[in-house]
Symmetry: C2
Subunit: 251 residues, 2 copies
Amino acid sequence: MKVGSLFLVPTPLDFGCDEQTALETSLPEAVQLQAAGLTYWISENARSTRACLKRISQKHPLARPLQDIVIMQLPQAVHKRGDHEGHFDARNLLEPAVQGHDMGLVCEAGMPAIADPGASVVRAAHALGISVRALVGPSSLMLALASSGLNGQQFAFVGYLPQDAAERSRRISQLEALALKTGQTQLFIEAPYRNVALFEALLRTLREDTRLALSCGLTLPGGWSLCLSRRQWQARPVPDLKAPTVFAISR
Amino acid sequence: MKVGSLFLVPTPLDFGCDEQTALETSLPEAVQLQAAGLTYWISENARSTRACLKRISQKHPLARPLQDIVIMQLPQAVHKRGDHEGHFDARNLLEPAVQGHDMGLVCEAGMPAIADPGASVVRAAHALGISVRALVGPSSLMLALASSGLNGQQFAFVGYLPQDAAERSRRISQLEALALKTGQTQLFIEAPYRNVALFEALLRTLREDTRLALSCGLTLPGGWSLCLSRRQWQARPVPDLKAPTVFAISR
């Protein structure tokens, strides 16, 4: 019996808020078609996956009625501490693929398994000999990096910075030192309600010539990207950072 | 007078070889439409940009006949040593945007300014107050990272490894030590004709439990991804790595 494939299916970056345009600006037609054809899914959040499939179904008929699509949700523990270290064994979730069905892996926004859970599922697929096929869609980190004008030949994504103010300042200085010394652009993110606090900590901590790029609400109406030196940022009003924002620093 | 925007336009990863399917699997409809509407371009390679626009024109009529599209090529020096450090001033290239025209920035494959030239143009756009808008398309690095099952919460792209065998081994060991200690996935690439040499160097150098992910020919027919320990790779025949390949290691 032939095993199925595991398709890594990206989703728009709007968390379901921009129903009019998100699909046609974010997902190639063939990706939408592929997603419409899958009946077994592993998901970070079954509700948002169902909403996304509903949006796709308005253009491409699903292989089965939405209520018959099987969506298995990754356990909460996986969301919290990440699932790339091998603590969570996802092989059971791939049973439909073992039985010959193609499956989809999907997160709430963007590419699955990047700054989001899902790595355990991909790892399990490789272990089971299930072929893994990543489909094209939005990656906020790459859109932000390209939009920054900072070094795209060498870069690192370091996730979230510490919440404690003193620890956060130390971490900012450490990342800045690394970026200035090696030229490796350092990308990081924050929960949107803490974006302004992080921005202000960056202004307090960075050297005046260090370049800081912000990309806010990427792919969304009103989204923007701007890269300025710390000195230049300081001469402007604090930007509106309510939407998801990617931060990057480099020399 | 209103200045134009700079659109960062991704391109399929097939370098023009897969005319049948590349656009519909790689670029959202709205991105193709946006590209079709632009008459001023800055490009890594004018010939491949013209070929890409020709493919797009088969579905979406261009704003002007192809021969009237203005494609300015980045100078060779920019390709060779990268253009993110501020040595090349790209402001002149953005003159059409200053005069109110939207412009496109495009590379040979994938996202512009990521593992490809273009950062100088984005930097100049920010300096000139030209709004930068990255469009969704393929990023081989993110497709490879998602497909690896390795840590996607923390990762670095380090570009090319040294060509000299001894230096390359040292660099591999250094990247491995960093990945094992911090958990930061290390991604790198090589010119396709050196992929097998790099793979063999990895097998000679890595510890037996270190996980090595290869993604070869991503988005292309016959493309594949596989992540195994060094020990497991060693027990298999050397894979066909003729297509562009992304390498990644982690614990």
